[in-house]
């Protein structure tokens, strides 16, 4: 039997029982659709976590003061409060270690801020010009802290959008306005773009001032509460983390790394861990969805077995007019494969639509990867062959005489 004849026979028999065929296909559509949709939710979660981590800057190492508690636990409990890191440490890192793009030390502490009769309690970050580059800050209006501002201890401030809303109201241009931090007047020179809440605290409810100003007028000393280090290339991050550790241990005269009075958060390591978590999440969702795919496959097998029984006489007749066993086998197998193939294509479309729907109408981010589509497609092929093989085999091995006599 020729290939195109085989397909014609298959389509004739699929179309001759539209209801049954559609219901069977529906099982596969739902199965493949759920796999695609569920995996898109998993992939979406992965991307949203990645974006969230990278929104605080890329290739970032953050050095925090305070003792490291245990090996493998990077962030110490004394973060920000201990006074073990100084401006000199930040300068040393920048000057002595290669492959660093830039270093931005910061002092952060919450203060009561007032302006024109309103007030709010917010984070004041004293930092340098490079902070905006390290943390991917974009300006909405005005400018960020300049080197000149840092040098001359300017009493200027850059507001985050939430702080602006709290102090001046939504949409108000705050440039040139005065605010009071710890009873000292500051002039607003810039407003950052909204970043949205991230996993590392809101980047919007914040005020930036020059680090020198913060040290002189607010903290009164030379300590910093964090040093942000942006590395040139992601590949060097671990090596540079080690170099910084060594440098700071030397500077602080600590011989046992276990007793370090600082800790370093490696963004790449966090990203890696989060990727592992979200990948597991994706696999988990995919596995749940694949249960419905298996049910769909069993549906195919069930339909094919019923078909073989219903069409026993037809199989007998086909054999009587010269069809070989392998022709019958191929015909029924192709029928199962074509059904799953149609179901697979429709399922992918269905899954993509569901995924877009979830993305559009809910807060959940979804992302469809080519991988999940190829996977769904191959799985539907395997299901067609896997669940179609047995019924086709049953059909092929029917005895023509018994088949012809079947009532």
């Amino acid at each position: 039997m020729k290939f195109n004849d085989l397909f014609q026979e298959v389509f004739i028999s699929i179309l001759s029982n539209k209801t049954k065929s559609s219901l069977t296909v529906l099982g596969i559509v739902i199965g493949i659709g759920s796999v695609v949709a569920m995996m898109s939710i998993g992939q979406g979660a992965k991307i949203s976590v990645q974006e969230s981590i990278q929104s605080v800057g890329s290739n970032l190492l953050v050095i925090y003061p305070g003792a490291q508690k245990n090996i493998g636990m990077n962030i110490s409990g004394g973060r920000g409060s201990a006074q073990t890191l100084s401006q000199d440490d930040a300068d040393a890192v920048e000057n002595e270690i290669d492959f660093i793009r830039t270093v931005a030390p910061e002092i952060s502490k919450r203060y009561q801020v007032t302006a024109k009769g309103t007030n709010t309690n917010t984070s004041i970050i004293g930092t340098t010009t490079s902070y905006s580059q390290v943390k991917n800050l974009e300006m909405d209006v005005g400018s960020f802290i300049s080197e000149q501002n840092v040098k001359s201890l300017s009493k200027i401030a850059v507001l985050g959008p939430t702080t602006r809303d709290d102090l001046f109201g939504e949409g108000v241009d705050p440039i040139g306005q005065k605010i009071r931090i710890n009873r000292i007047n500051f002039t607003v020179i810039g407003l950052t773009e909204a970043k949205g809440g991230t996993g590392f605290g809101s980047q919007d409810d914040i005020i930036f001032i020059p680090i020198s100003t913060a040290q002189r007028y607010l903290s009164g000393d030379d300590y910093v509460s964090g040093i942000n280090v942006q590395v040139q290339n992601e590949e060097y991050m671990t090596a540079i983390q080690e170099q910084i550790t060594k440098l700071l241990l030397d500077r602080h005269n600590i011989s046992n790394p276990q007793l370090a009075d600082f800790s370093i958060m490696n963004q790449a390591a966090i990203l890696n861990t989060m990727n592992k978590v979200t990948n597991t999440f994706t696999i988990f969702l995919g596995a749940i969805a694949s249960i419905s795919l298996i049910v769909g496959g069993i549906g195919i097998m069930n339909m094919m077995l019923t078909t073989v029984t219903e069409r026993t006489r037809e199989i007998g007749l086909r054999k009587a007019i010269g069809s070989k066993n392998k022709d019958i086998h191929l015909q029924f197998l192709t029928e199962a494969i074509v059904l799953t193939f149609i179901g697979g294509i429709m399922g992918i479309i269905f899954g993509v639509l569901v995924s877009f729907g979830i993305n559009h109408f809910t807060a959940t981010t979804t992302s469809i990867s080519m991988f999940s589509i190829i996977l769904a497609f191959s799985v539907s092929g395997v299901i067609g062959i896997g669940f179609g093989y047995y019924p086709a085999k049953q059909a092929a091995k029917l005895n023509p005489i018994e088949a012809l006599r079947y009532e």
Partner: protein, 234 residues
């Protein structure tokens, strides 16, 4: 043993035993020997259970004998493999069944085209040949696109005969072809067999009714798995 020059079918001591279990076996055909000439019209007649259907299955290569030899056109087919048997059925035999065995959800035309599909006849020839075969059994264009289950019994059997003839088989094997038909349709079908036989078609008819067998030129009477009488009527 030498084979008859004119014969198309030569059966020598053909036996068929069905083994139902190790102890129970049924001997349906017992050392049956006969020959059938080309262009003959033979009826195999006998009561129900005499082995005539089994004989037809053996002649049509739907089954193989337990012992004995079956030569078709001087070729021993009793040792054929499954695929060889399928090829034999495709090229040499046209079957007509009591219950028609049409594909009910396919059109009349598609039913007749089906053997040509398995015979891998070029697509462009198939429809033309099917139309000719259908015209030969007295069905016109108006029936071609009907689904076969929309036809009357007589019409269905005509379609089945057209399907049997379309591939120009060496023999037509008809198993109780009038069993499900009224007497008028039966006469029409049997007359059409006579017509095809006059045109040179070898036909073997299985029946349990004398008046059906009387349409044939030769009647082989089967009883209890043995030939009890073999007579030429015309």
């Amino acid at each position: 043993m030498s084979l008859n020059k004119q014969s198309i079918i030569d059966c020598q001591n053909l036996s068929k035993t069905y083994f139902i279990s190790e102890e129970i076996k049924t001997e349906v055909l017992k050392n049956v020997s006969f020959s059938i000439n080309k262009e003959d019209f033979v009826a195999i007649m006998g009561p129900s259970g005499c082995g005539k259907s089994t004989l037809m299955y053996l002649l049509g290569c739907l089954d193989i004998s337990t012992s004995g030899k079956y030569f078709f056109d001087k070729v021993d087919v009793s040792t054929f493999s499954n695929d060889q048997l399928a090829n034999f059925r495709k090229n040499e035999v046209g079957f007509v069944f009591q219950n028609f065995n049409l594909l009910s959800r396919s059109t009349v035309l598609r039913n007749v085209i089906l053997p040509l599909v398995y015979a891998e006849v070029p697509r462009e020839e198939r429809e033309e040949r099917a139309r000719i075969a259908l015209n030969n059994v007295g069905l016109d264009e108006s029936h071609f696109q009907h689904l076969s289950n929309q036809l009357s019994g007589g019409q269905m059997q005509r379609v089945a005969i057209a399907r049997a003839l379309v591939n120009n088989p060496s023999i037509i094997l008809a198993d109780e072809p009038t069993g499900n038909l009224d007497s008028k349709s039966s006469r029409a079908i049997l007359s059409s067999f006579q017509k095809f036989n006059q045109q040179g078609q070898t036909i073997i008819l299985i029946t349990h009714e004398q008046y059906v067998a009387d349409y044939a030129k030769r009647i082989i009477y089967l009883h209890d798995g043995k030939i009890i009488k073999d007579k030429r009527t015309r």
